[in-house]
């Protein structure tokens, strides 16, 4: 029973986070672009995400005539379920985790790969050319960057000696710098770049490049199904920001303990990373497909491999 309550609270909090992450994004980018962002709905536009949600919920759910209906229905659900499943293993504070499993990091990898399956299926099932191209791009992007992402975390695993996310944080607290971002700076850099690509965010938002592919894989989706993809993307961002926090930035530990709010530092770090996401989106142009591939294979993967070798040497010698 407690587990069910825990799950419900978690899902509720995360969905609220998704709604207000869009608000945060629009406000941040708005102020970066000499405009205000949402101001009309509610005080300071605070009800805007709610209004958007209601609008999306009541919009007509259009399905193209030639679409593969089963896959078309399944794709957004696969995306959302895969993204949500990640939440189970994330430790938000000491002991505040739904499922403490000893392969937490691998589980996250598995689920984020599964989410890209939904994207590919969406592109295929829509039977639309722009969606198809978006799906193809997503597939190759995920395959390339999944490798870099995984390799960048190998250093962390070697230092912590565990794949359990809670234990990685605990090991970090014991380490010399308190956070792994300093000794693992190379891994951290590769992780951040791969994280952006993995979540399809600027400057790697090729699968949904609106100026080239209209909206990429979800061009044909509308209403609630579109918002499922949208939620999956924002939960994906949250998950990746959490992994960055847990593996490199010391998880829930901070310079001083905040009473009654054990997850304070965790949330603060996550929102710092989310801000970084939005900042990049407001600043950078988009990579081209082949440039993205060459960056992944020729720069990030060698760097990540180098990081593993160096970490191994240092660990053996000291």
């Amino acid at each position: 029973m407690a587990l069910v309550v825990h799950m419900l609270i978690l899902v509720g909090v995360v969905l609220l986070h998704v709604a207000y992450a869009t608000y945060f994004e629009r406000k941040v980018i708005g102020h970066m672009q000499v405009r205000m962002g949402p101001t009309r709905v509610g005080p300071l536009g605070l009800l805007q995400p709610i209004a958007d949600g209601i609008k999306l919920f009541f919009k007509e759910d259009v399905i193209p005539g030639c679409a593969d209906r089963t896959l078309f229905y399944a794709a957004p659900i696969i995306c959302l379920v895969a993204a949500m499943a990640n939440l189970a293993v994330l430790p938000f504070a000491s002991g505040l985790v739904l499922a403490k499993i000893n392969i937490g990091l691998l589980f996250v990898f598995a689920m984020s790969s599964l989410a890209s399956y939904g994207v590919v299926l969406a592109g295929w099932a829509s039977n639309s050319k722009f969606s198809f191209l978006g799906g193809l791009r997503s597939m190759s992007q995920v395959i390339s960057y999944e490798i870099a992402l995984g390799l960048s975390l190998v250093g962390v695993m070697m230092m912590a000696g565990s794949l359990d996310l809670s234990e990685i944080v605990a090991a970090q607290q014991q380490s010399r710098f308190g956070i792994y971002a300093i000794p693992q700076f190379l891994g951290f850099f590769v992780f951040v770049v791969a994280m952006l690509a993995e979540t399809n965010r600027a400057p790697f938002d090729l699968p949904e490049a609106e100026s080239e592919l209209v909206a990429g894989y979800f061009t044909e989706y509308s209403g609630i199904r579109f918002s499922l993809f949208f939620m999956a993307e924002y939960i994906g961002m949250l998950v990746m920001a959490s992994i960055a926090t847990i593996c490199f930035l010391g998880g829930w530990s901070g310079p001083f303990a905040v009473p009654h709010v054990p997850f304070f530092w965790f949330a603060a770090k996550i929102y710092g990373i989310m801000f970084f996401y939005f900042w990049l989106r407001a600043t950078l142009p988009r990579y081209r497909y082949d440039q993205l591939m060459s960056l992944g294979w020729k720069v990030l993967i060698p760097l990540a491999l180098l990081n593993i070798v160096v970490t191994g040497f240092v660990k053996t010698i000291f």
């Binding site: 672009q33 000499v34 191209l133 600027a202 100026s211 142009p285 990579y287 081209r288 082949d290």
Partner: protein
């Protein structure tokens, strides 16, 4: 699939490529700047063949012109390149004045030069905004619109309209500039160069921007001339041709400015050329403000706004009131006969107006040489063998506006 038997491809066709992936990009695509439609034949993400399809915004302006007096057609020129309507007004009036042999007073010449350059800045700002947005840099978009808004405010003050200005009239300009507007304009040109630097810091040092633009969509000088490119798209390829320098109109021979020339003719050079032109335009406006002479703003022999198709019928020689019988004869020969082609340097390229006159108050035939139409025609050549993301960058860099293309 569409066969490849329409024409020989310059791109070598390997076996198994007979089934190319066809995409109809447009006419409601977000990056085709209006209603441009491109039929793309693609091999993966590589464009094997690009077939532009114009005409979705065709309104028959050239035919409409045959049924309107010269003065009546003027407001329609706003709807050509609606991003910089002032330049179209100036171009049309310069052409009609050449046909009707009207001398425009000096003050009006300077005002026209000024508004044409303002129009160039508004046009280039919108180009930069959308071009950057196409490549994914969305902040530049809003920065550009901030400055464009200032200029549109000035247009509103000068003519009462922000977009469809109809500011010039045949023989001059419709109303004189106000001191307040000139003050605002002086402040704008003072501040504008620092704003250009601001756009450049956002994109010009960005590695992703350079990767996306350098060496993409190269057009050699010969190719550019063959394709009929004009304006910054031609000059980026290294051809020094600018109507303002080579066939000066208005007051362009009285102001000092440079024509920026590119080298490689790629997307990046076209971008650089336009950025430099923004600086030069600000310079021209400043000189116009300094030199603006007093005087009339409309020529004495300018036709009335309600332009008569023919002069009122005259009493025939010999008939008099005394006899009680007056025979009136029509006088059709008010306007010169013949044809004339006059072009100006619009923000997109050489904007030309060709008139054939049979002496009536309406053109017998009018043709608009719109640079956008010709640049869209060039897309087929430039886009062969590039990636689909580059097609977007190339469309943006050629700066096409469909209102002018389809007229």
């Amino acid at each position: 699939m569409m066969g490849t038997e329409f024409r020989n491809l310059a791109v070598p066709v390997r076996d198994g490529e007979s089934e190319l992936f066809t995409v109809q990009m447009g006419p409601q695509h977000p990056a085709t700047h209006g209603v441009l439609k491109l039929n793309l034949w693609m091999d993966g993400e590589t464009v094997v063949r690009c077939d532009p399809d114009a005409g979705y915004l065709h309104r028959g302006f050239e035919k409409i012109a045959e049924n309107k007096t010269y003065a009546q057609f003027l407001p329609l020129t706003d709807r050509l390149d609606y991003i910089s309507a002032m330049a179209n007004n100036v171009g049309y009036c310069v052409a009609v004045e050449a046909l009707l042999r009207i001398e425009v007073p000096l003050r009006a010449q300077y005002i026209r030069t000024m508004v044409a350059e303002m129009a160039r800045i508004t046009g280039h700002l919108l180009w930069l905004a959308t071009h950057a947005l196409d490549i994914g840099a969305m902040t530049v978009f809003l920065y550009c619109f901030r400055e464009r808004g200032l200029l549109l405010d000035l247009f509103e003050e000068l003519s009462g309209a922000r977009l469809t200005t109809t500011y010039t009239r045949i023989g001059g300009v419709r109303q004189d500039v106000t001191a307040r507007a000139m003050e605002k304009l002086a402040r704008f040109v003072e501040e504008f160069p620092s704003r250009i630097a601001e756009y450049e810091t956002l994109i010009d040092t960005n590695r992703i921007w350079l990767k996306r633009t350098k060496g993409i969509g190269c057009v050699s000088a010969e190719q550019a001339v063959q394709l009929g490119f004009t304006g910054p798209s031609l000059r980026a390829s290294g051809v020094d041709y600018d109507v303002r320098k080579h066939r000066p109109y208005c007051a362009y021979d009285k102001v000092q400015f440079e024509v920026p020339i590119g080298v490689n003719g790629d997307v990046y050079d076209r971008y650089r050329c336009r950025m430099e032109e923004l600086r030069q335009s600000a310079l021209i406006i400043r000189q116009c403000l300094e030199q603006l002479p007093p005087g009339a703003i409309v020529a004495d022999n300018a036709p009335d706004l309600v332009m008569p198709l023919a002069r009122p019928r005259q009493p025939m020689a010999g008939s008099s009131l005394a006899t009680g019988y007056i025979e009136l004869v029509p006088n059709n020969d008010v306007y010169p006969e013949g044809d004339v082609y006059v072009s100006i340097e619009g923000s997109k390229g050489e904007l030309g107006f060709y008139f054939v006159s049979d002496g009536g108050g309406r053109p017998y035939r009018m043709h608009i040489r719109s640079p956008s139409y010709i640049h869209i025609g060039g897309l087929a050549t430039v886009c062969e063998g590039v990636l689909v993301a580059d097609v977007i960058a190339i469309i943006g860099s050629l700066d096409v506006v469909l209102g002018e293309c389809d007229r």
